[in-house]
């Protein structure tokens, strides 16, 4: 009983916070007094409502999701492999590390512009998403491997465990928490940078291309509506990811108790 009332209170709080910020938005709209600067919440919701019922909307979303997922998957896969290798081998680390430092501190736009020259428009966002997320995954994987319990490694050497099994049963479980943390960061970042890349490369089906035309036609409520879509998608991704990863942990736990 008590738990459920606390839960009710929490969701009530959330609704109140939501209403508070929508009111602030509406107030700003009234104070500013020009739709082009700050469209009203109602306008944005109407625009969103119209968008949802068109095929173009869903196709656009599907393609953008595909690009983000592709960019993230490549970063995670390569980040994991290159990360493990560079953490285990000092020479590889010394070669890769400056490259990662450069990647981390170069402005995204420089990369987008050069990518526009190298790739077809649809692939630019994938490449940019990869460039931004790969160093984060790599850094965390390296930190994970370096944090491995050396006593366990010694133990497996005494018992002459095969290298691949050591990798799978000791290194991977050690890396997992580091990797998950990096993935959560990358989910948010991935959406931001690939949409930014889409704005500049405008592929045929892309959220960024719609943002670009909103700019061209000075259609602020369109801009807000698409931005809203990006935020929702990014949150959805993070939510699904968290649910998926904690569910796995839960499974492990239920196995213990059975």
């Amino acid at each position: 009983m008590k738990a459920s009332t606390i839960k009710d209170k929490k969701s009530l709080n959330k609704i109140l916070v939501f209403i508070f910020w929508i009111s602030i938005w509406q107030l700003t709209h009234i104070v500013v007094g020009r739709d082009i600067y700050v469209p009203s919440p109602l306008q944005v919701i109407t625009t969103l409502g119209q968008m949802i019922f068109s095929n173009v909307f869903w196709r656009t979303i599907a393609y953008s999701i595909f690009r983000v997922v592709a960019g993230l998957s490549i970063s995670i896969l390569l980040g994991l492999i290159v990360g493990i290798i560079s953490a285990l081998n000092d020479y590889v680390y010394d070669i890769i590390n400056p490259f990662m430092t450069i990647l981390k501190s170069t402005p995204v736009l420089s990369f987008i512009i050069i990518a526009l020259i190298w790739f077809t428009s649809s692939n630019v966002p994938i490449f940019i998403c990869f460039l931004m997320c790969f160093p984060i995954i790599w850094t965390n994987v390296v930190a994970g491997v370096r944090n491995v319990d050396h006593k366990l490694i010694e133990m497996s050497k005494v018992y002459r465990i095969k290298k691949l099994i050591i990798l799978r049963r000791i290194y991977l479980p050690t890396i997992v928490p580091y990797l998950l943390a990096a993935c959560i960061t990358c989910l948010g970042l991935g959406w931001k940078v690939s949409v930014a890349a889409e704005v500049l490369s405008h592929p045929q089906n892309a959220i960024g291309s719609h943002l670009y035309s909103a700019k061209v036609y000075l259609d602020s409520s369109m801009l807000f509506a698409w931005t809203f879509v990006v935020i929702i998608l990014s949150m959805l991704f993070e939510g699904i990811f968290k649910r998926f990863t904690t569910k796995r942990n839960m499974k492990e736990y239920s196995k213990i108790n059975s």
Partner: protein
């Protein structure tokens, strides 16, 4: 079979833990390393098992052997169940089929069958120690190293395991190394007791016990004499 250590040196920074040690493990049997805390026993067996490097000296006969090693700490994989922890050391070389029965055998020896699917963090200290013992015995290496294997164990379990290891030695022969602070354990199990001091680790005395290991020994006069020798060492 030659199993020898000649003028072995090992330092940690400025501290000389082992300095010019000579020892002979060639005679088959249970060799007990008996000495005060911090004298360098773990360091020595770690060198023998190839876990840590040594600075100089000569070690003969150990490098092509496989080891079952009960470490001073449990060294279990925290994310793997008791069963998986034991399988971990078996799956590199054993065939799939008999692994399950090997695991079950040794879990029942240490009385942990019901805890097969538990994770280390859900076990008590002594239970974790038993998993570590089961893992070493299941692996069945050429040389068995035990670093204070019975700490945290209840009397009955300790007796069971001591009997088992003595019996195991009779079946297997070869070299077993037992590190302990407990004179009773040493006198019950060992064929050779190396009384050590340090650091740096030095051999104070070697006691050879001709009687077959086991409980029957405790009544024998000679054993009482050896006990006094060991206990003198302790109070010294």
């Amino acid at each position: 079979m030659e199993l020898k250590i000649k003028s072995l040196h090992k330092s940690y920074g400025k501290q000389k833990v082992i300095s010019g040690l000579n020892m002979d493990f060639s005679s088959e049997g249970i060799h007990c390393l008996f000495g005060p805390s911090g004298c360098g026993k773990t360091t020595l067996v770690n060198i023998l098992a190839g876990v840590i490097p040594y600075d100089s000296g000569d070690i003969q006969g150990f490098n092509n052997k496989s080891f079952s090693y009960i470490f001073q700490e449990e060294r279990l994989l925290p994310w793997a169940t008791v069963e998986k922890n034991i399988k971990f050391v078996l799956e590199s070389y054993n065939h799939k089929g008999d692994i399950d029965s090997i695991v079950d055998n040794y879990l029942s020896l240490v009385d942990l069958e019901e805890f097969k699917n538990y994770y280390p963090k859900e076990l008590s200290g002594g239970m974790k120690q038993r998993v570590s013992i089961a893992r070493a015995l299941a692996y069945d290496g050429d040389i068995l190293i035990m670093d204070e294997p019975f700490k945290g164990l209840h009397l009955n379990m300790k007796k069971t395991l001591m009997d088992y290891i003595i019996d195991y030695w009779h079946r297997k022969k070869g070299l077993f190394i037992l590190i302990t602070h407990d004179a009773d354990e040493a006198l019950c199990m060992a064929n050779y007791i190396h009384v050590l001091e340090g650091p740096p680790l030095t051999l104070k005395k070697e006691i050879v016990i001709d009687e077959p290991p086991g409980k029957a020994r405790s009544g024998i006069d000679k054993i009482q004499k050896y006990r006094e020798m060991l206990e003198d060492k302790i109070t010294e």
